[in-house]
Structures are given as C-alpha cells and as structure tokens.
C-alpha cells in the first residue's frame, strides 16, 4: 500500500525466490553472515584461544615447568635491581613471555592464570547482570504500574551513583575474603540496570505489537505471553548485550585491580600485573606490554564480535 522505498521491489523478489523446502532459520542466517566477516572470524579465534589458555593454565604450567607463583631467581639480575636477564624482559625458551622483575615469576604462567581469573569474573558478572536485568527489565516493561515505578527508580538511583568511586570505596572497605566473588557482586549491583533499561524499553514496545495481542486473543495468560511471545523476540538483544557486557566487565575488573582494590596479590589478574609494572615501565616495557596487549585484544575481540552480531541481527530483523 505504501509507496515503494528503494528496495521494496527487490525484496519482494527475494522473498518469492526462497526455496520451497527447509528454509534457513533466523539463527542460521545470522551465523552464516558472521562467518563471512574476517574480523569476526579472527575475533572468535582469539577469544577461543584465550579461553583455552585460561582453561588449560595448570596443564600449560606443567608443560613449561613454571607455575604462576614460582620464583625464578636465576632469570633476573639481582645486581641491576632485579631486572630480567636477556632482551625483551627475559623472553626465552624457558620463559615464553619473559619473567617479572625482582622475583622472576613466569609471565606466561601468570597471563594464563590471570586470564582464568579475569574471564571467570567477567563471565560470572555478565551472567548475573543478564539474568537479573532481563527478569527485572521484563517485569517493569510488561507489567508497568507500580512494579515499573519501583524498578525504574532503583535503576535511576544506581545509575546516578558515581559507580567507580563507590566500587573502589566499597571494595577497599570490604574484608579481603573471596575477592573474585566480591568483585562479581559489586560489578553486578551496578551493572544490571544497564541491561534492564534496554530490556524494559524493548519489552514495552513488544508488548504493544499485535502478535502479543494476538496471543492474548488466542487465550494465552501473562506468563505464556512473556515466556513464549516476548522472550524469543528479546533473544537477539540479550545475546548482544551479554557479548558487549563481557569486555566491559573485563575492563572494569582490570581497572579496579590496577587501582589495587580488585584481585589481590599473589593471585594474578591482567590489570593488577599492569599496575605492578608501572614502577618498571622505563626499564622493562615488556612487563606492561604483554598483559596490556592481552587485555586490549580480549576487549577488542568481544567488542568486534558484539558489534557484528548486532548488525547481523538488525539486518535479519529488517528483512
């Protein structure tokens, strides 16, 4: 009925041309789009490598013979204030990424161990914030009324909080205890509103779509409508939000650890490794370059993957 925008005629053709049998599901179409982008393939490959590195940290340590906490006095020059022996921060067949100044701990082992810690924290925080954010966002968006009022006010409040300063203050005041678990809790408290806000908005617009009314007219109750009509349409958004949340939490965890309130030594984390390298950056730049590069590439890969995922899903919706 409307005047044809530029592609209309063309789209009609492609719709008609789709093969009779097993049509591609939306998910399969997205995956095949993503596989065509070299940036996505590289990112995913890198993420897989880091996950393997983290998962196999103990195995790798036994292969190289150096654990993350083992000192190697032979690898450092005590006379020169403890800088690593050899070029590039002591990179050698024995220590693949060199050693830490002063105590000679193997950087490769600590990177692997740090990957485990960082990923564990980021993924856990992502899981918690996604679940909490999706549930509260859908409740607020779908039911509206006082439920929405309460949830929205709490969200406003948490988002107005100077989160970083407060997280630091809170973490510094909290007892040592299980640092990674504390980090997950603190990150989640301030992280869920950002998920909930998006989910709430989308739920509100989905709620007014005719297919939700159609389901109601078909005799569906609220629970069925939420779980079977609304949730499947939020799937793409949730996946994108979660993918983009992971690098955010990795970065925040690293920042907090860099400031000395995150993961506590001797447990390694990438941010904390960079922090301990600050005093050495003039003489041993590899000490901060290696964990920094790992951190950067990890955040980058998740962001690239998330960006492309979002684009692919949007394109799928438009078609």
């Amino acid at each position: 009925m409307s005047t044809a925008p530029s592609q209309l005629a063309i789209e009609v053709d492609t719709v008609g041309a789709s093969p009779g049998g097993g049509a591609p599901t939306p998910a399969r179409r997205v995956i095949s789009t993503l596989r065509r982008s070299p940036a996505v393939v590289l990112s995913v490959a890198y993420i897989v490598a880091v996950v393997l590195l983290a998962a196999l940290a103990p195995v790798l340590a036994s292969i190289t013979g150096w654990g993350p906490y083992t000192y190697d006095p032979e690898a450092i020059n005590a006379d020169l204030g403890g800088i690593p022996i050899g070029p590039l921060g002591g990179i050698s067949a024995e220590h693949w990424f060199g050693v830490e100044p002063q105590n000679g701990r193997d950087i490769f082992a600590r990177i692997a161990q740090g990957a485990q810690v960082s990923l564990l924290i980021a993924v856990s925080a992502t899981l918690v914030t996604t679940v909490v954010g999706v549930v509260l966002g859908m409740v607020a968006g779908f039911y509206g009324g006082w439920a929405d009022q309460v949830i929205s006010r709490v969200m406003d409040f948490l988002m107005a909080f100077p989160a970083l300063i407060f997280m630091i203050a809170l973490l510094s005041a909290l007892p040592a205890g299980n640092r990674p678990a504390l980090l997950v809790i603190v990150l989640s408290i301030f992280g869920w509103p950002y998920v909930a806000r998006v989910i709430r908005g989308q739920t509100m617009s989905l709620k007014n779509r005719e297919f939700v009314e159609a389901a109601r007219a078909s005799g569906a109750g609220n629970w069925r409508i939420v779980s079977r009509e609304v949730l499947p349409n939020l799937r793409g958004t949730i996946i994108v939000l979660a993918t983009l949340a992971v690098p955010g939490y990795i970065g925040t965890e690293a920042g907090l650890s860099f400031l000395g309130v995150g993961v506590m030594p001797p447990t390694p984390s990438w941010g904390q490794m960079i922090a301990s390298a600050v005093g050495w950056y003039t003489v041993d730049p590899m000490f901060f370059l290696i964990p920094g590069t790992f951190l950067f590439l990890t955040v980058l890969s998740f962001t690239v993957f998330g960006d492309h995922l979002q684009k692919a899903l949007d394109a799928g919706d438009a078609a």
Partner: protein
Amino acid sequence: MNTTPLLEIEHLTITFPTGSGPVDVVRDLSAVLDANRTLGVVGESGSGKSMTSLAIMGLLPSTARVSGSIRLNGQELVGKTDREFRTIRGEKVAMVFQDPLSSLNPYYTVGLQIEEAYRSHRGGSRRAARAVVLDALERVRIKDAARRIDHYPHQFSGGMRQRIMIAMALCLEPELLIADEPTTALDVTVQAQILDLLAELQQETGSGMIFITHDLAVVSQVAEDILVMKDGDVVERGTAEQIFSNPQAAYTRSLLDALPRIDDPFEELRGTAR
C-alpha cells in the same frame, strides 16, 4: 502547435544492483506531460511508480543506474550531477511526499522549512521570504497563518502537515509538481480536501502535475492521462476515460475489478463471478 512539452520521458529504465544481479525497477517507460495537465501513475506496491518520480528529481540512490531520457522543457535531466539538479529541484520541479510527518524535520518550525526552500533559490532577506511563506501558507488555507508559521510540525494534524508540504512545494511556483501518494496517509474526508486544494492550486498556477497513487478511484478524479504500472513495466497508457471505460490490458481490468466501490454497478456481475 509545435511547442516542446513540459516533460518528455523516453525509454526510461532504472536498474538497481542486488545480491542476485541487477534488477530493473522501471523498464522502458515513456510519457509526455504538458503544462496545466495531470498525469496519473497507478500501480501496486513495488510497481516502480515512485522510482520514476525520484529519477525526475535526481533523488535516486547513487547505486541506481538510469538510462533513457527525461527532458524538462527540452532540457535533458538524465546524467546531470547532483549539483546541477539543485537548480531543478524546488525551483522547476517540486515534490509532495506520502508521509508529511516524517517528511518534515521535527527540529525546525514549518516557517523556516518553507523559507529555506525559497531563499536557497531566490535569496533575499529573511523578512521578504517570510512574507512569501505567509502568503504560501494562506494559499493552502492554513488558518491563522501568522501564528502557525512559527509552530513545529508535530503541532499540526496530518492534513495540515500535508498542506504545509504543498505550501513548501508551491512557494517557488514550479512548472511541475510531483505528488507521490499525497493522500494515502490521510483520512477520507481530509483526502477530499487535499485533492480539491491541489486541483484549485493547479488551476491558479497552470503547472503540470504527476500524481502517483495506488488508488484508482483517486486517480480517476485528478488525472487526465494515466499510466498503469506493474513490476516496472507500463502495462497500459491512455486518457482517464479510455482507461476506465475501456481498459485494454488484462492487468488494468483485474485492478478495476478488484477495486471495491462505494456505489457498485457491478454487484451482480461480481456475484456471478464468485
């Protein structure tokens, strides 16, 4: 009479590249339009009717390939650069679109949006332009124009917004007005007012008009000549009387048969066809 017609389109073909090879959205379209006359272009969605008007305005996406000839007062438009088209757009050919709300910029007053059209072609002071704008708003029967000139698009109703679009198109007194589904988004009573207004204004200014629509009943009221389009092809052309009283193409006939009528002379006929 051997004068050049206002608009002459010959063998116009518009092609878009797609993932599965090039697709013609308009194929070998020819048409002639004289001043003071209205050419109706009818077709269903995807028939290519809007593409033709965008080609005349030079507003097709840059990926589109255009071949054939479009001559305005004998001047060839196909192949002109975007910069060259600027002297045509607004000044010689103006356009009214389907959805007046999204066609107006929500951030600026309607006065400014009409004024900038005028001033970018004629120059002059803002004060002088404002007088022209006021006059244009009054000509499209906007009540209390002196106050409404400083209002924003969202403060007007759908019909009023379309009047503003028409005022914008007419303030430069173009020789050709292209109305692309100008009443589709409007209620039937408002549609009637807008159609009347367009007819009156055309009589005043003597401009030519291309009226694009999917609605056969509407086009029968406004157009003297009609093109029926389907999938990029012109399936039939003729005067309104020819098309409606003696359609030749099967497609035109099927469209006419399918058209629901308010006073239906075919009631019995359709009954037997069922």
